[in-house]
Structures are given as structure tokens and as C-alpha cells.
């Protein structure tokens, strides 16, 4: 039985100290050890992007990281982007544009787009399609997601 690993990590601005089996995937750590179930797991193969979280501000696949790898670092998950009463402009735009249907892939799109829009606040349609080409969605055909990003870019400008 592997010895436990003690780690400290800040998630959505709150610091957590936990002991974990060292081979615990970051996605499982967030979802079960911390109870932050907004990050979803679609493939555990690093392809679908549903598990995307922000690690030190960069979008990463949490299913491809082990919990010990984030020791001492800062993570933002979808729960850290906004709340029901205070949605992030991107979340609002998703709702306005009907950019989600089943909602399973949505957290991964949101976390991918937040740094994306910081880097490129006025993306063209082609740039948007490129930026989210690493996130799979089976319900929407992506069109309303692209509409949402354009809408969010306007909202963030204002």
C-alpha cells in the first residue's frame, strides 16, 4: 500500500491541506477529496477537454495530472469563475446564446476560454474555433458556443 502524500494546494482562492494516495488523479482529487464536482471527466485519455482546469492560470487536463504534481500551486475550477447569483460574463453569455445543452462539457469550455479571452479579447470566428478545438462537445455542434464567445467578448469590453 503506497504511503500517503501530504499536499497543500489553493483552489479557487481557498487553501487545502490533504493526504492522498500519490497516484490520485487531479480530477479525482478535485471531485472527491475536495467535493468540487463541477470539473467533469469524459475520457481520462486527455482528448475531450471536459476536465480542463486552470493551473497557475493555464488551461490543463486534470485527468492527466497526479494530485502531488499541484503541491504548492494554485488552481481555478469552474466553481471559481462565478456563482448562480454572480455569473461570470462568459457564463452569462453561454446562457444567453444557448451554448450548453447537457452541460457536461461546459466547465471545460469555460475554463479554456477564460485565459483564451484574456490573451485575445477580440477573437475572430476562426480564432475561436481554433481556441476550442481541443474541447469536444457532442450536443451543440459548437455554433452557439462560438456565438457565446463573441457575446462575452462584447460584454467584457463594456
Amino acid at each position: 500500500m503506497a504511503s500517503q502524500y501530504k499536499l497543500t494546494v489553493a483552489v479557487n482562492g481557498k487553501e487545502y491541506q490533504r493526504e492522498v494516495d500519490p497516484r490520485t488523479l487531479l480530477s479525482d482529487f478535485l471531485r472527491y477529496d475536495l467535493g468540487l464536482t463541477g470539473t467533469h471527466v469524459g475520457c481520462e485519455q486527455g482528448v475531450c477537454g471536459a476536465c480542463t482546469v486552470l493551473l497557475e492560470g493555464e488551461a490543463v487536463r486534470s485527468c492527466l495530472l497526479f494530485a502531488p504534481q499541484v503541491d504548492g500551486l494554485e488552481i481555478i475550477t469552474v466553481e471559481g469563475l462565478g456563482t448562480i447569483d454572480d455569473l461570470h460574463p462568459l457564463q452569462e453569455a453561454f446562457r444567453d446564446a444557448h451554448a450548453l445543452q447537457c452541460g457536461f462539457c461546459t466547465p471545460g469550455f469555460l475554463t479554456t476560454l477564460v485565459p483564451g479571452l484574456k490573451e485575445n479579447p477580440h477573437p475572430t470566428e476562426e480564432q475561436i474555433r481554433e481556441a476550442i478545438s481541443g474541447n469536444l462537445c457532442r450536443c451543440t455542434g459548437y455554433q452557439h458556443i462560438i456565438d457565446a464567445v463573441k457575446l462575452a467578448a462584447e460584454k467584457l469590453d463594456a
Binding site: M1, D21, R23, T24, D28, R31, Y32, L36, T37, G38, T39, H40, G42, C43, E44, Q45, V47, C48, A50, T77, V78, E79, L81, G82, T83, I84, L87, Q91, F94, R95, D96, H98, L100, Q101, C102, G103, F104, C105, T106, P107, L110, E125, I128, R129, E130, I132, S133, G134, N135, L136, C137, R138, C139, T140, G141, Y142, Q143, H144, I145, I146
Partner: protein, 782 residues
């Protein structure tokens, strides 16, 4: 005051929770003392098990138990048949073979479950699975459909004489006479192949048996919680009220999540009752490719007889349909193929022989389209070929053959998947077709743009394909609507929701009927504690069947409100109006009473409730259509292909859809966009590759290619409305429409783009590799 909410682009009420990570999906359920199950699945597609040794697995710390078929004893039994053979047809051969909880005699497809480990964590359970020792005796696998019927083929089910699962013939009119009159007869062989639904959420369930309470709680990512509840109760010897099944937010269904009962849905309830602890199992993506049902493989030989003017005189078809290792879903999918093989055309003579075969591959049950795309594919390809051979424009051929609007309801005299006569209820096809051709700019493209692009060396082509979609079939759905003492409205229906926005679209129906705001209606779907009777979400029927039940229940509640308010306010009903939670006397607005107050008065603590009335302001109604509603649409696309790289780019994509009354246009558009993306996947990117040993070679999202945002075009959706005559909402289903015509339209455009190659493509899905092969074969021939 009139509230007009049906048909509005209302933002979804469920979105804020989904957007902030606050929506419950099945893997979010975590209970104290919960155990985790992991399955040992067969690597072989066809094999006997000589021995199983679970001792090392059971000895791992943290493992609570390892179980095989033997351990289930008398509790082991195959799943229930979901759909019987068509009772309304004669001369039907049908051998029902259903999937098993744990393999007993032999393995029939790769991924079939041999043993289950239950442990304190998923990690330990999966470690233990690796420790199970199995001695297999591999057997030759049945993979190829035509070979499966040869006399020397290995048998998937040894108690049958062959791999024949079913056989039937459907006839309409007299094809042989039609053939004699024909001036052109075209005959082709088509091969259509498997694809996966690949919802972003894999399957999963959590089961919790409480022995003190004698109650089983189940969270299941299913499209049909009520039948699952009924089946689980029956299998476990419980009353239906001892079992509650909740389908929480489900991350996409697309068909396979309605298959019942998956092996896991049989094993987990048994485990929780045996171990007296909650048990969770969440499928991973690799398991999903092997163990979640798939669809689409068929070999068809189809003959079309036409007059020299292009009138279709008859169609004759033989279908070999692959059902995989078992056939719990009966003939639904291939019956749909038959129902769609005449398209929206007036075909008076049709003969179709269906042969269904068992193979050592994953079980086949409907995937979005459910057999319809295959029917549309063959009829549209044959018309494309007829157009070339007769020298008649393909558009004229379609227009000549469309069912005339005066001929509805159109009786096809064959039976459909609901075992009733296939009847197209209504439609008006020419305006939809015309709109599609205009919007895509068909003439201008052929006459100006294509020649110009060709001169530049670019290969750009156009495809326009009309299609019908049978929707809104029975048997029935129900809805319960109630006004709460708070004045808000609560409602429930039995269909589950996997992204279709039922919580909003059905709330819109209620809000309009009761003159309240959508935000004041709380619509619950997928919880068997909220409503007792129903079937599920499938076959593009939610809006039609559940929607109309919702309407009936809401209207009944409105009437109860008026009746009671009339008594309380001492005013005739005609002089009362509902507005935003109040009932008012029309000319004297100060005389009013709130819905909440009425609800309290309707459930008195003292006094007498009048005989013949019911307490409360609540109503449960059911809707069961005699036959379905047939939607119609046209997809038109322009694509460019690079014959060196085989890469495709869509330049324009237009859909014109007639699904009757829309509940919420935003949601309809979303359904079409999503359907088209699956259709594009089915055309060029998605194919499940099984080798001769029945091994799936591309069981990962890295190798089974789902369209990304980079492959998808923007899609223009135009909506026309021929209201459905047989339901009060006038609505038709649209959930699968986006996927149905795409392969046919894609191929038409591809052949047009590569016209100099004179391709005749009779297969789907294609791929860049396959296109390369076809082009080079054609180059050699030319």
C-alpha cells in the same frame, strides 16, 4: 392577459446550475460507506471460460468481494426483452436473445462482463480486476455480416441453428408488376457501418439499498428511469414503490442510454442488496466503446424501378442488419430503416426483406437516427444515380415524386417501429425544398461559382437532400402539474432529460396555460418518485408525447383554478382572468385571489370536499398518439475537398426544417446543430473499426474522431411550420432530424466536387483514407 410563451426563445432555467458546476450528474453522488465496482471485461470477442480464479483479487486490502455468475446463483438471469417482435406482421422469424449480467457459458462480444470487484475505492477495485486469472478458450469470431449466414459459420448462440436473429418481409402494392412497366431499373449494393453515440458523459449508476427502510435508491444516467425502476423492482422481488430511480442531469444520451438492462444495471442492484452498502460504478471511455450500445451496420441490396420521366414506380430492398451479440431491442432500428427507405416520396410499390444477424460485436440499439439515416441514404443515392442515367436534374426527380400535400395522411401499408401502420400524418414538402435550394443558391452555384472555382483548380461541390423523420410515437407519456401553497407551479413528467431543455420547454407550456412566468414553474424530469407512469426519452418524442401530456394537465389545472375561483369570488368563470399568479375579476381587478391562496383553499383542513372533486389544484394527464407525426426537412451544403490531402471544408450549410410548432426555437436550433455534427461525424470521421477477431481497433477518442469546432461549419437553420394535426400543440419531434440526411447530402456534394472522377459512393462512413483509396481506384479504372 394572454401569456404567449410557447414558441419563444426563452433562456433555459437549468443553465445557471450547469454553468457553475452545481448540477448533479451521477458521478457527483457520494454517499457514506459507498463502495466502488470495477468490471473484468473480456478481451476476446468469442471465447469459452475454462476457469476463473478470483482469489488473488479478493485478497487485496480494501477489496470487499469479487463475484462471478456462479456467485449470483438463482439471481442470475438475462435482461428482459424490451420490444417484442411485431405482432401485427405474419411470417416473422424472431429469436430473442438478451444480454446477461455476468458471463456464464461463453463470451459473445469483447467487453462483455466476466466478473465484478467491489472495493473501498475505484483505484483498488481496478487493481483487483488485474489480479483475476482467467483461462480462456478462444473461439473464431463472427464479424462479417454475409459470412455470418453461411452454413459453416461459428454460432454466436449455440442453441440456435444459425446466426439468424430475425427475418421478415414487408410488402406494399406489387413490385414485380411495377418492375415490368419500368423503363429504368437501378440496382446497387450498399454498405453502411457502425458508429458510436459517444456522449460526453459515460454511463454510470449509484445504488443504495437501505435494509431498515427496505428501500432501494438508484441514480442512473438513463433515458428511461421509470422502466428501469419497474424492471429493477421485478428482478429484486420488490414493490415498485420500494424503488426510486433518479436520472439526474445526464451528459448526453443519443439512444444508448435507453438500452435496458445493461449488465451493470443488473449487477449493481444485486450487489447493494447483498452487501448492504451503497455501490457506485462509473464507466470509463474505453469501456464505453466496448460496452455501450452502437448502431448502423447494414448491407443493403436495393433496386429502384422508374419511368423514363423519373417517376419512382417501386423499390425492392433486402437488408442484412447487424444486431451484435444480443437483440434486446428487437427490430426497432431496421424497421425504421424500412420506414425511411421510400423517403418522402409517393412510392406505391415496395418490397423489403429484412434479415437480422447476430455477430460477436457490441449490442446494437438505436443511436440518434435509429435506422432512419440508412433508409434515407439508399433512396437518395439511388435517385442521384437515376438522375445521371435518365439525364434528368436531381431536383426535378425529387419534386416529381414528393407526396402531394393533399394526400396526407399518407398510408404506407407497411408497419413501423411502433407496430402500427406507417402513416405520414401531414406535410407540405415543396416549399421546404424550394427554400433550401434558394438559400443555398443552387442555380447560382452550379452556373457561376462552381465553374469559376474549377478554373482555379478547386474541387467544390453541392448536395441537397430532402428527408422525412417519423417522430412522436407512443405508447404514451404522462405529466403532473400542481399549484403549490406558495403560488408557484410544480410539475413532473417521466421522460428524462439529457440536454434537450425539457425543464424549460415544458415549463413554457405550463406558464402559457396558467398565465405565469416561466421562472415560477419548477419542472422535474427523470424522477420516479415524482410521477409513476411513463416510458422514456427516445425516437424524437419528448415534445410531442410528454409535451402534450403537460399541456393537457396544465389546462386541466387552469380549469380547476377557474372553477374554484368562481365559487370563492362569486363570479362566473367567463368573467375571470389569470395573470401572473393572480385570478382577477375582469372588470374589477381589486377582486382577486392568488393561486397560492386558492391552492390552500383547495385542500381544506376541515369541512367537506364535494363528491366527484379532487383535493388540491393538481392534475395528471396522459397522451398516447395513435400514430406518430412525420417531420420533413432538407439539408443543403457546399463543400470543398482537396484530392491530395483528402481534407474537407464546408463552405456553407443550410437546413430547412418543418417540425410543426416549435416550443422553443433556441432549443430546436441547438438540436439541429448537434444532430448535424453527429451526421458529419457519421459521414467522414466516425467509424468503429472491428477486425476479424471482433476486436475494436479504435476504442479511444484519439482514434474515433468526433468532429471538433474546427471541422464544423456554421449552420443556418430555417424553420417552416406545417402544424401536426393530431396533437393539440401541433408539434413534431426534431431531436434526430439533424443527423438523418447528412451522409446522403455529404456524398452527393463530394461526388459533385470530384465530378471528373465519376465516383459512385455506396458506403458510409467515409474517411480521408477511404476517399484516397476510392480516388486511386478510380484513377486506375479511367
Amino acid at each position: 392577459m394572454i401569456y404567449k410563451i410557447i414558441g419563444k426563445r426563452v433562456k433555459r432555467v437549468e443553465d445557471p446550475r450547469l454553468l457553475t458546476g452545481g448540477a448533479l450528474f451521477v458521478d457527483d453522488v457520494n454517499l457514506p460507506e459507498m463502495l466502488h465496482a470495477a468490471f473484468l471485461r473480456s478481451d476476446y470477442a468469442h471465447a469459452r471460460i475454462k476457469s476463473i480464479d478470483t482469489s488473488q483479487a479478493a485478497a487485496l486490502p480494501g477489496v470487499v468481494g469479487v463475484f462471478t455468475a456462479e456467485d449470483m446463483g438463482e439471481d442470475w438471469e438475462p435482461g428482459p426483452p424490451l420490444v417484442s417482435p411485431p405482432p401485427t406482421l405474419e411470417n416473422v422469424t424472431f429469436h430473442s436473445r438478451r444480454q446477461v449480467p455476468l458471463v456464464k457459458d461463453k463470451i459473445r462480444h469483447a467487453g462483455e462482463i466476466i466478473a465484478v470487484v467491489v472495493a473501498e475505492s475505484r483505484y483498488i477495485a481496478e487493481d483487483a480486476v488485474e489480479e483475476i486469472q482467467i483461462d480462456y478458450e478462444p473461439l473464431p469470431a463472427v464479424v462479417n455480416l454475409e459470412k455470418s449466414l453461411q452454413p459453416d459459420s461459428p454460432l454466436v448462440h449455440d442453441d440456435l441453428d444459425s446466426n439468424l436473429a430475425a427475418h421478415l418481409v414487408q410488402k406494399k402494392g406489387d413490385y414485380e408488376s411495377a418492375r415490368e412497366e419500368a423503363e429504368l431499373i437501378i440496382k446497387r449494393r450498399f454498405h453502411l457501418d457502425r458508429g458510436a453515440a459517444a456522449a460526453m458523459e459515460n454511463r454510470g449508476l449509484v445504488v443504495d439499498w437501505n435494509a431498515k427502510d427496505q428501500h432501494l435508491m438508484v441514480w442512473d444516467a438513463t433515458q428511461s428511469p421509470i422502466p428501469i425502476r419497474n424492471g429493477m423492482a421485478a428482478r429484486l422481488g420488490l414493490r415498485t414503490h420500494q424503488v426510486r430511480v433518479v436520472a439526474p442531469f445526464v451528459g448526453g444520451g443519443f439512444g444508448p442510454k435507453i438500452m435496458m438492462f445493461y449488465a451493470e444495471e443488473m449487477v449493481l442492484p444485486w450487489l447493494t442488496m447483498k452487501l448492504n452498502r451503497p455501490v457506485k460504478w462509473i464507466e470509463d471511455r474505453r469501456e464505453n466503446f466496448y460496452a455501450t450500445t452502437q448502431e448502423r451496420e447494414q448491407i443493403q441490396e436495393v433496386e429502384m424501378a422508374l419511368s423514363k420521366e423519373g417517376r419512382i414506380l417501386g423499390i425492392k430492398q433486402s437488408i442484412i442488419h447487424d444486431t451484435g451479440a444480443y437483440n434486446p431491442y428487437g427490430l426497432t432500428t431496421p424497421l425504421n430503416t424500412q420506414s425511411h427507405s421510400m423517403g418522402g416520396y409517393d412510392v406505391k410499390n415496395y418490397e423489403s426483406e429484412l434479415t437480422v444477424v447476430f455477430t460477436n460485436k457490441t449490442i446494437v440499439t438505436p443511436v440518434r437516427g435509429a435506422g432512419r439515416p440508412q433508409g434515407i441514404f439508399v433512396v437518395e443515392r439511388l435517385l442521384d444515380i437515376a438522375s445521371r442515367e435518365l439525364g434528368i436534374d436531381g431536383r426535378d426527380l425529387r419534386r416529381l415524386n414528393f407526396i402531394d400535400p393533399d394526400d396526407f395522411p399518407y398510408h404506407h401499408q407497411i408497419i413501423d417501429q411502433a407496430f402500427t401502420e406507417l402513416v405520414f400524418d401531414s406535410g407540405n414538402y415543396l416549399p421546404v425544398y424550394k427554400k433550401a435550394l434558394e438559400t443555398i443558391g443552387y442555380d447560382r452555384f452550379l452556373q457561376e461559382e462552381q465553374p469559376r472555382l474549377r478554373k482555379e483548380g478547386r474541387h467544390v461541390g453541392i448536395g441537397v437532400v430532402p428527408f422525412i423523420e417519423t417522430t412522436g410515437v407512443g405508447p404514451y407519456e404522462g405529466a403532473r402539474v400542481a399549484i403549490e401553497p406558495s403560488g408557484k407551479v410544480s410539475a413532473a413528467t417521466g421522460v428524462g432529460t439529457q440536454g434537450q431543455g425539457h425543464m424549460t420547454s415544458f415549463a413554457q407550456i405550463i406558464a402559457e396555460a396558467l398565465s405565469v412566468d416561466v421562472e415560477d414553474v419548477s419542472m422535474v424530469t427523470g424522477d420516479t418518485a415524482e410521477i409513476h407512469w411513463g416510458t422514456g426519452t427516445f425516437a424524437s418524442r419528448g415534445a410531442v408525447v410528454a409535451g402534450n401530456a403537460v399541456l393537457a394537465a396544465a389546462q386541466d389545472v387552469r380549469q380547476k383554478v377557474l372553477t374554484l375561483a368562481s365559487k370563492i369570488l362569486e363570479t362566473p368563470e367567463e368573467e375571470l382572468e389569470l395573470d401572473g399568479g393572480l385570478v382577477r375579476v375582469a372588470d374589477i381587478p381589486e377582486q382577486s385571489i392568488s393561486l397560492g391562496e386558492l391552492a390552500v383553499l383547495a385542500n381544506p383542513f376541515r369541512g367537506a370536499v364535494e363528491p366527484g372533486t379532487e383535493p388540491g389544484l393538481e392534475s395528471t394527464k396522459y397522451f398516447g398518439p395513435a400514430y406518430g407525426a412525420t417531420a420533413f426537412g432538407v439539408h443543403a451544403l457546399i463543400l470543398e475537398v482537396d484530392p491530395e490531402t483528402m481534407m474537407i471544408k464546408f463552405l456553407k450549410y443550410v437546413t430547412v426544417e418543418d417540425c410543426g410548432t416549435m416550443l422553443n426555437p433556441l432549443i430546436v436550433e441547438g438540436q439541429i446543430h448537434g444532430g448535424v455534427s453527429m451526421g458529419i461525424g457519421n459521414s467522414y470521421y466516425e467509424k468503429l473499426h472491428f477486425d476479424d477477431n471482433g476486436q475494436l481497433l479504435n476504442a479511444s477518442l484519439a482514434d474515433y474522431l468526433l468532429p471538433t469546432s474546427a471541422e464544423m461549419p456554421p449552420i443556418e437553420v430555417i424553420h417552416l411550420n406545417t402544424p401536426a394535426p393530431n396533437n393539440a400543440l401541433g408539434t413534431k419531434g426534431v431531436g434526430e432530424a439533424g443527423a438523418i440526411p447528412v451522409p446522403a447530402a455529404f456524398i452527393q456534394a463530394l461526388e459533385n466536387a470530384l465530378a471528373e472522377y465519376e465516383l459512385e459512393i455506396l458506403e458510409t462512413p467515409l474517411s480521408p483514407n477511404r476517399l484516397f483509396e476510392l480516388l486511386h481506384k478510380q484513377e486506375e479504372n479511367q
